[in-house]
Symmetry: C2
Subunit: 218 residues, 2 copies
């Protein structure tokens, strides 16, 4: 955790001098960036890496609900709305972030017009992208969505998500997920090992996605 002193790209998002509050922070794969229900003491800006958002249901089970991809802010919702209960966020790959100590400057950030404007633009752009994404995705068969999912979740060439979690996220039954995974294994795209499913043909997965996207332009 070293201090940033010189010019910093993050400074572009603010009118105030944010640099005194910034430090660098890395999270290892599977490490929690934010624990569910625990109010974060930092506002993060994810420079590199992927993370997954969780929420736990009334019945106690945990659900994967979304992905976070660099570059973007993390924890801005909790900063904006003190009443919102934070969702859990866990690193997929190594995540390097700037962390901004909001205990020192949270109220000033919330009066920084440049930052608020940037955030509004970012959030509305993301909303549009999310909608597009949902619309595009909903008509694809599991084979395609699973291909995307595996590529997003794989670390060092290995896919090792719990099937129950994946099935819920993908909106299909456990049974059917297993069925399609078995197809991938039969086609030699995946190989089952003790460390998880090894991705043998990344290109085949990418191909599935690309073809489907293009076919849908009818």
């Amino acid at each position: 955790m070293k201090q940033i002193s010189e010019s910093n790209p993050l400074q572009d998002f603010f009118e105030m001098d944010i640099r005194p509050y910034i430090s660098l922070k890395e999270f290892e794969p599977d490490e929690f960036i934010i624990r569910e229900g625990e109010r974060p003491t930092y506002l993060y800006y994810l420079l590199e890496g992927r993370a997954k958002l969780f929420i736990s249901q009334e019945n106690g089970s945990i659900s994967l609900i979304n992905f976070i991809e660099a570059p973007c802010f993390i924890g801005e919702m909790e900063l904006l709305d003190a009443n919102r209960l934070p969702q859990g966020l866990k690193a997929i790959s190594t995540c390097s972030c700037y962390q901004i100590d909001i205990s020192g400057c949270g109220d000033r950030i919330l009066r920084d017009v440049k930052f608020l404007r940037y955030l509004c633009r970012f959030l509305s752009t993301k909303a549009t992208q999310n909608t597009d994404n949902y619309m595009r995705n909903q008509s694809y068969p599991l084979k395609i969505r699973l291909a995307e999912f595996i590529l997003k979740m794989a670390v060092n060439g290995y896919y090792r998500e719990p099937h129950t979690e994946a099935a819920e996220f993908l909106g299909v039954t456990y049974r059917h997920l297993l069925y399609v995974l078995a197809q991938f294994v039969k086609e030699g795209i995946l190989e089952k090992t003790k460390q998880g499913y090894e991705v043998k043909k990344t290109e085949a997965l990418r191909g599935l996605i690309k073809n489907e996207v293009h076919n849908s332009q009818y």
Copy 2:
């Protein structure tokens, strides 16, 4: 279009005095609130009514992409980002709005901390809701999603969306949409007339949705 002079609920969202720029405006069903590609001259706040968001594809066809429901701002994305090309928005039911003349105060609004903060909170809450909604929906069979869709789209008890548009929005084939609509007719939930499908059993549609939501809590 009458002037608002006394206290106004919209004022709560702003630090500046917004009242001089506000007027009331009503849109009839099927009337465009924003035409695609045409930069709106007002920021709207929808008080009552429902509207649908459109976008036209590269190939010239038009796609329904989302719903807007009161109360919420309309046109805030275009205000925030002058480069964004506006999506089309059409009233489903009668929509009453406040309209804020941004030619007179757009730059002041964009420096209004209270407004920007409200908008950030609103956008992030909406993003969360959208995600939840999408997650919940994706696993439902068409029967359920169509029930919701019909309830949202019906005006005065009549559903009359073009099937091509509806099928695309719901992410199913035209063929299958027709099949499920025919089921609804057979069950006496809908009745086909020259003015569109008449909704005969609103409660049956609501029941479909509710049951499915509850069943999914396993």
